[in-house]
Each structure stands twice: as structure tokens, then as C-alpha cells.
Amino acid sequence: MALLAVEKVSKSFAGNRVLNEVSFDVRAGEVLALVGENGAGKSTVLSLVTGLLSPDSGRVLYDGEPLRSWSPHRAREVGIGSVHQELSLNPHQTVAENVFLGQWPARRGLVLRRDLAKRARPLLERVGLDVDPLTRAGRLPLGQQQLVELAKALASGPRLLILDEATSALDDDQVRSVFAVVDELRAADSSVIIVSHRMAELFAVSDRLTVLKDGEVMATRDRAETDHDDIVRLMIGRELSDLFPPKAGEGSPVGAEIAAIPSEAEIAEEKSAAGVAAENTIPVLTGAPVLKVRGLTVPGACENVDLDLDPGRIIGLGGLQGQGQRAVLRALFGLVRHSGRIELDGRPARLASPREAIRGRIAYVPEDRKVEGLHVAQNVRANLSLTNLGVVTPGKRLLTVDRGAEAALVDDLVERMRIRVTGPEQEVRRLSGGNQQKVSLARWLPSEPRVLLLAEPTRGIDVGTKREIYHLLRRLADGGMAVLVTSGDTMELVGLCDEVAVMYEGAVVERLAGEDLSEERLVRASVTGAEAAPRKGAGTHA
């Protein structure tokens, strides 16, 4: 009998349907992989199981019983343990306190530190973690924190363990200890649901794979009956080659001068032209780099990073999560204090604030749109005109906004970017993630930036919009822009970028381009960076 059965579960957020009649089950003693792109609904469905959310319709059965009045507390009581990508540790408490978070063993009402440490030790050992249980959790590197999460999930002796991107920050050895735990649980007739971006891992450890796309189950396959390509096809609903535009020098610069998302017909045209172009390769625009970065250092985040951003090229920053990629982008946009030499168009530049970066025509599309990008409570019009006040308040009008110019600007951007809105007055928070991201990008276009910095440009976005954004970025590059992208999605980096710099503990450990730029090489460079990287200083992330 299935230990967990999800039956026709649907869930919407603010009118956006994220899960549509999703059904799957997990048997006792089985490892089920849940696969899908960012935004496919994996985390949402898992949140229903762990009690963080409740379904709009459908039901979840655990041990044959429907879950009622579900909460994380109840879930933990019945033996559901989970490790999520976003850490739930309290960085200010000790490792031991975190392992037993919320269920500290007490003697006559008192929780004794030494007792706690003693009980935590075997659990830490089980996950292959050799740290003092009395260290503050926040002092550990990210990978070790993730293992503390695992120890915490094991503390309640789970019958169902959920691993949601629980290996994203781990190196090879650490991944092996996680899988050892998974095997142990399976042998003890417990079940595991695993979510990971690393396909090879999923094939190594799971018994069955369930593929989600845009909130629906595409298929559930036995591991023996499927392969990597089959799963990827199910995940993105089309061939991989169709998702990404041709790379620099391979395509024809059709309509490259217009910074707009191309239509289906234009994409097809570019694609067929690419076949021809591949034979007589168009020379890549190679001038001097727009932005030359030498020895960029942000204390505690990245160290001695060199980058050349050339017009017409898309450069990726890869590696595991939190290896300093974000700091590089934020430093180049003047958001964090940094040292190193930066030249803009051959002249030394000081990027001490976003204002100075913008003046140098650098644009930044942040990972967290709601914090560093958009004003979500305001409407589309206000968001688009805020970065273009020069356009909407022309000189002759002194300080007031020219509503006509503003309307023209907004209409133009909405059309070019194919932003789906009810009108310019719609609040940004009511838009889907994909359309929010388009607004976040569109707001920079009128100022014609020369350097575009993007962090996780397609996180939480449907596949159709992803494809549009990839093609837009390529068009912008073809038009002479230099693009720098960070992404935790290896498929995206490989498919989109002309070159990828792989970071580990704040340093660039490898640069991959052309033939060398493959998912396999990228993943290997990301996790084995440990050996190549200078092991000093830069590893502590606050």
C-alpha cells in the first residue's frame, strides 16, 4: 500500500494555478524522484505534504488516512521529516539546538546543553558531519548547514523523508553520505521523496520518477524504463534545442537592432537561418570589453574575480548556490562595497552605488524581484517609468510627469516585451512570476544599457516565458549589449551562455566555453572546485 498518496490536488496563488489535479503516490520502502523545472510546482506540492500549505481541492492520504487540519507540527508527529532548499535553521542557535529544533528533549522541564550535544552527536555522525554540536549553526558553511537540516529531519525518526534540493550545496562526499542515509531508510522500509536539479543523482538513487510541468503530472516512470533525454523531454515539453536561441556567431542577427521578444515566426526564421549561418560563421562582434574586471573582491563573499564582458556575448556565472556569484553581480551594480580594478570602456570606473552604475549604463535584474527590483504594490506604469524619469519628465516640463510620454513608453514596453497585463494600472503583485520578471527587465530597456546583469533570470517562471526571455537576451546581446547571468540551473547556463565562469568559495575555478561547455563539465567543475580552489578565507558566508 502507498504510504503517501496525493490525489487530484489543485492549488492557486492569487489566481495563478500552480497545481492542477496533481496525483502521485509513494510506496513504503521506495524512493520517488519528483522532477520538473523551476516553477513546475514541486515545492508547492511538497509544502502540502509537510503542512506548510493546504490544498484548494483534492486530498493527500498518509498511511491511508486523509490529512486533516494539517500543520508542520502534525506532520512531524506522524513521521514526516523534510529538508528544504531554503534553510529552516536558526543561525543564532547551536548545531545541537537546531538538530532538535522544536522538540528539545527535556529533563524535568529543563533542556541541558550537554545532554543535547550528546544526543546530537550520533545523528551528526549518521549524516557524515564532523562538527562540534555546540558551534553556532550560522558559522558553518552552507553545505554543512544543509547536513544539519538532514540530521534534524532524522531526529524524529521519519517514515517519510522529503529532500527538496537538499543536495544543492553539497560536494561529492557529502552527497554520498546523504545517499547512504537514503539507502538506510529504504532498507528500513521507510520512504523518501527527492527533488534535485542534478539528474544523474536522481537516476542513481530513485526507484521511480514523477515528472511535473506547469503544475501538472506529465508521467511517472520506473527508473529502469526511462533515460535522461526522456525525462528532460517530459520536463520542458519540447526538444531542448528549441528552448534556446543560437549562440553568438551562430545565428543571423535578424532584427537584432530591436530589443523585443521575438514572435514565434521570427524564432523559426532565426532558427532556420542558424543552420545556414553555422556553415559560414558570422564573425562575433569582438571589440574591447565594455566592462573589464580585475581582482574583484567582496570581503567574505568573493575574491580576486576577473571578468571580461564583451559586447555581443552572454557570460554565465555558474557553480553551487552561494559561492559568491550574487556578490559579483551586486558589486558590479554598486550594491556592496568591493575592491579591485574595474574599467568601463577602457576607463577606470568607481561603482560605489547603483546610481553610479546606472550612469555607466549598467542594468541589474535581481534574483529577488520584490526586494531589489520591483515595487510590487505599485502598478505596471509606475514601475516602468521609475527607472526612466528622464523620458517621462522631459526638460521643458520641469518636474511634472508628462502623462502622454509616460503612456507611450509603457505601451511600447508592454508590447515589445509581450507582458500580459489587464492594463498599465494593474498592480505588479497581481502578475504571474514570468510577467513580473518581464517588467523587471523592461524597466531598463529605454535607457539602452551597455551591460546587463541578471541573477537567476528565469527562477519560478513557466517554460514559455523562459524561452521568450532567452531569445530576448540573445537579441540584446546581438544588438551589442554585454550580458552577465548567474543561474543555479545548469541546463540554462549551458543552453544560453557563450562562456561560463564557475565559482567555488568566492573564486573563479574554471572557465568553460564552446565544446567544453556541457552540463557534465559544469557540474563537475562546480562540485570539484574544492580541489582547485584556493582554500583561504573566502568560504564564510554570513
Binding site: L52, E77, S88, P91, G102, V111, G300, R330
Partner: protein, 314 residues
Amino acid sequence: MPDRVATTLRGNLDVVGLGALLVVLLAAYRHYDSELFTPASITILSAQFLPLILAAMGQSTVMLAGGIDLSLGSVLALAMAVFAVRAEDGVAVAAVLALAAAASTGAANGVLVAYAGLPPIIVTLAASFLWGGVTLVVLPKPGGSVPAGLVDAYNNGWNGLALPFVVIGLVLLLWKTVRTTRFGLSLYAVGGNEHGAYASGIGVRKVKIGAYALAGVFVGLAGIGLAVQTGSGDATIGAPYTLNSIAASVLAGVSFFGGIGQMRATVLAALLIGLLTNLLLFTGLSPFYQLIMQGAVLIVAIAVKTFATRERTD
């Protein structure tokens, strides 16, 4: 070995820094008041500082859970009023009533914060008017009376024993015990990462209500202390304690975002603020300049502290 010392020092940077500042302040104080270190002087000073120390402990408790309490002054006045009004019928009964009143208003604050889904700063600001009004109902005009024997014992020592010291010792012991219970750990967990705590099955609302209620107990004790110190009750005397308690907590290194802070640092910081106020009084400056000086000293102290303990982020 020096490593170990350094680690210990870093872990207690707040306490060490405040201790150093306290020594400087005491030296300056002694310059104006050569009797400072006599038992009589220590007793009367501690009697004077006790209410602020207790109030600051209450504020720190709430702040550790990620909240803030702007109604603290009103609750303090309420406890003071209840105690002063009932003290003649029996000090013990009055104390129990005052503590119950303060703890239940604290718990009510907690319920509002936990269930209203509004920022604590708004909820407790509104609550401050509510409890302020209730206090005026209990004691419309300054009055009530505390038995003279108790007032004298408290302010001048009881058989050579400084009672305020005993109270602080007991309250710190209480805190240390609370801190080692599941509730105490939950308090830090909720303050440090509320969502994580919730996802770990901690009853976040209960913890918040508990934190505000416990703060109510500390504030209630502060109110009783103030009544015993002054010998009567006054419904309007609580107001300055709200901001002073926040100042002491921040000075002590209790994070506005919750989860970080030590109670002994709060005690030191409250003591520091009390001494500073007295010291400025001695200088004979006009009260206006005293306020300006007090503000400036606080800003400098907090800025130095923030600078010294700032964690690096990317």
C-alpha cells in the same frame, strides 16, 4: 590559550564592552559623589535603578522573540497603580494582583500580536492607549499608599541587605531557568528564524504570547518596585520607561530582528543608562542639555557597538 581567551571575549563582547563603559562611568560618578561606594549609597541607587532594569528585561524578552512592546510604560503604570491601591490591605495580595494584571495585559498584547497579523509596533502602540486608560480607571489621581516600613526597607536596606539586589538576583535566576526550558529555546528560535521555527513544528503563536506574558511579569515587578520606591502610585509615570527600556535593550546588543541577545547585558545596559542620567544631574547642566547629552551618548554608544560587532554580509 590566548585563542580561547579571544573567543570567550568575542562571544561576550557586549558584556565586556558594557562592563568597561560602566567602570568609566562609575569613576566619573565618584568624582561628583565621593560616598558612592558606601553601602547606603549603593542601596539607594539600586533601589532607584531597579524599575528600569526590570523594564528593560521585559523589553528584551519581547525583542528576543522578534517583537517590540510600546505599551510597556502603560503596563508598568498599571501594575504600579494596582499595587499602590491595594497595598494597605496586604502587601502580598497587592503584589500578586499587580503581577497578575501585568502578566495578563502582557498576554493580551501577545494574543493581539500573534493573531492580528499586524506588526507588533502598531499593535502595542494601540495597546499602550488601552492600558493607559485602564490605569486611569484604577487610579484617576496619583495616590494610594505603600506601608512606610516597606518603603524604608527597600530604599535604605533591610537588616543591612539591599533588597533590590536580591530581586535582580532572583529575576536573573528565573531568566536562566526559563532560558533552559523548551519555551526559552523556542523563544530564541522564533526570534532567529520565525518561518523556520514554524516549519519545525514550533507553536509560534504560543511562544509569542508566552514571551509577552513573561515580559508582563518583569514589567509588573518593575511597577511594584517603582511603587515601593516612591511610596505611592501614579498612572502617568510609566511613559519614559517604554523608550528607555528599548534603548537599554539595543545598547545591550539585543537585535531588533530577534534571536540575538543576552539578559545580563541588558541588566548592565539599564544600569548604565540609570547612572548616566544621575551623573548628568550632578553636572548641574540645565535639564534641556541633559537630554541632549543623554541622546548623544546613546547614539555614540550604539554606533560604536554596531560598528564593532557588525557581521560581514555579501
